[in-house]
């Protein structure tokens, strides 16, 4: 059977997954060299979970994540050097070195951040989706969180609201089976996270998170569902991190056999094999991509390493927005590039709110049924 995917799509996905893999390997190496400090959570093994969904949505859809957050912005198109510089704590990083590994923000590419409190970004995503409905836009929000976040109150409180108000948000639970060093099955009464959506009358499905094309299909379908105003979707991407929770974690709570077994399921060769089998691409093309990406990541490390630390007067910036102060556009600030797709929002005078969250008629009928008069 002919492949429903174009060569361009497959090669783009391959390039992005390989970029994330290579970037993370180098980040891990730089960590051991002492160039990167603090917590550094690598995405190695989970690349398909970032790349498949990104190719299935529009560039102006919103995305945000937890603290394992290098993969998504790279998939969105962020500058690898500036992400690496953020990891290095340099002034040329996306957040001027103020956020570090756990807080990558690239608003130009509609990546609204990595968040360090488990589950803390879940309500934010519902609010961004709320804003889209409020303004009558057909934008969707994609929000990543880990399996352990599903046991936070934020998960349950938000799902209830998102479903009740039919907010256009796709939640992707990256189930890599461990919340830090604790297997999710040891702490969860229902370890299949997708099943919890049912409690909120919401669509919930498991997806093979080690398969980029399956992630792509699942999110393409979910996005259409959201844009049609049908409400939120929870996708549970069953995936695996090949490395520890963070660079500080030797991962002694897993057996070598388990990791070896999962490595056979590597999403990157899987996609390559698929494309080769479908005769959509040849080895030489993949080899060329790999060479280009290696050079790109080498340049990113060099850029980060040669960049200065932020100036000390940065200490007093970015805490409170002063009157008339503009937002900082990183690629403009660092690379002198003209940023054209910075988000613009309608002014309070232009905006007409037409959404009726709880139609009056419906409310009056409910009152009548209950024998109430208002």
């Amino acid at each position: 059977m002919a492949s429903p995917y174009s060569k361009e799509l497959l090669l783009t996905m391959y390039r992005k997954m390989y970029l994330i893999r290579r970037f993370e390997e180098r980040a891990g190496q730089q960590y051991t060299l002492g160039k990167i400090a603090g917590f550094c959570h690598l995405y190695i093994g989970q690349e398909a979970v970032a790349v498949g969904p990104n190719e299935a949505i529009r560039p102006d859809d919103y995305m945000l994540s937890a603290y394992r957050d290098h993969g998504q912005p790279l998939a969105r198109g962020s500058d690898a050097g500036m992400v690496m510089a953020e990891l290095f704590g340099r002034g040329t990083g996306y957040s001027k070195g103020k956020g570090g590994s756990m807080h990558i923000f690239d608003i130009e590419h509609h990546f609204y951040g990595g968040y360090g409190i488990v589950g803390g970004q879940i309500p934010l995503a519902a609010g961004m989706a709320f804003a889209s409905r409020y303004r009558n836009e057909d934008r969707v929000t994609v929000c990543y969180f880990g399996d352990a976040a599903a046991n936070q109150g934020a998960f349950h409180e938000t799902f209830n609201m998102a479903s009740k108000w039919k907010l256009p948000v796709i939640y992707i639970c990256e189930n890599n089976r461990y919340g830090m060093g604790t297997a999710i099955s040891r702490t969860s009464a229902v370890p299949e996270i997708y099943k919890r959506a049912a409690a909120y009358g919401m669509r919930g499905e498991p997806v093979d998170g080690m398969d980029c094309l399956k992630m792509y299909e699942a999110v393409k379908d979910a996005a259409a569902y959201c844009r049609a105003g049908k409400g939120p979707v929870l996708l549970e991407a069953n995936t695996y991190r090949f490395r520890g929770h963070s660079m500080a974690d030797p991962a002694n709570y897993r057996t070598k056999q388990e990791v070896e077994e999962e490595r056979k399921n590597d999403p990157i060769p899987k996609l390559r094999d698929y494309a080769l089998k479908q005769k959509l691409a040849e080895d030489a093309q993949f080899d060329a991509i790999e060479e280009e990406v290696k050079a790109q990541v080498d340049a990113a490390v060099k850029f980060a390493d040669e960049s200065p630390e932020p100036s000390l007067d940065e200490l007093w910036r970015d805490t409170i927005v002063a009157e008339g102060e503009e937002d900082v556009r990183p690629r403009e600030r660092v690379l002198g590039m003209k940023v054209t797709n910075w988000p613009k929002y309608p002014s309070g005078q232009e905006l007409k709110v037409t959404w009726d969250l709880e139609p009056r008629e419906q409310a009056e009928q409910a009152d009548k049924k209950a024998g109430l008069s208002r």
């Binding site: 934020a154 209830n160 959404w355």
Partner: protein, 328 residues
Amino acid sequence: MPELMYREALNQALAEEMERDANVFLIGEEVGRYNGAFKVSQGLLDRFGSARIIDAPISELGFAGMSVGAAMVGLRPVVEMMTWNFAILAMDQIVNNAAKLRHMSGGQLRCPIVFRGPGGAGGRLSSQHSQALEANYAHFPGLKVIAPATPADAKGLLKSAIRDENPVIMFEGERLYALKGEVPEGEHVVPIGKADVKREGTDVTIITWSRMYYFCMEAAEQLAKEGISAEVLDLRTLRPLDEEAILASVRKTNRVVIVEEGWALAGVGASVVDIIQSKAFDDLDAPVERVTGLDVNMSYAANLENATQPDAPKIIAAVKKVLYREGA
């Protein structure tokens, strides 16, 4: 000037700002069809519709966080907390997200949002419902904290808060909502960060905010009958503190009493003392006195509840102490 209740002044501010700016919406428990637990949002659902006056489930963390997310992409939410006691559940979203977004994003994002609701003693509600929690929020960079005492300031400060580009925490008062006061008509905006000398005096400065203001005024009037001229400085904003106004009053009267409903340890008053001792030490004729809530949890029994809080007699005693007129 028309007289309005504190709750009516807040209602006016909300309605005017929502009229002016369609990005402003109000969310909270009971704000819509119930017209507000304390009737601050009376009539607003009918006027602005259900997408802008939103009845939230009892999920403080959830709807606080949702509103922060909406603010990140250009809306201007006003989040009503039925009381600040319940907002403790939402503190992660306020502190770890709202207050830090600008910083974590290196200046890419802003979070124009107002969290508002009543703080302080509720009146016969025991410890979980009677806490003055403003010192907690005043601690965090990235937030602004306001605590108006009068209807006029409530209206003017809420309007400023809604227009502000930063997260603003607003402490109202369960026992303030029905109080009446003159409120200027038309565009009335009170700047955040400016204290207000509510009563001029020469012998002592009483520094306070929110509901304690009324006890301070009562004390000042009684003191006047004894020939003591007390200045009452209403801070109105607790972050940023109006150092200039504090120091100006200290330099004028040379004696200070700070009155705070909350607990003494790590209270806002402690920071005011710190400003005074480090910048106006030579202007002081007596050590600064503080009158605060007692270092205990609030009881239900009327006599225990009253004894826990500052009142005019306690303030008068503190004033006499700094004037060395004890037992006079």
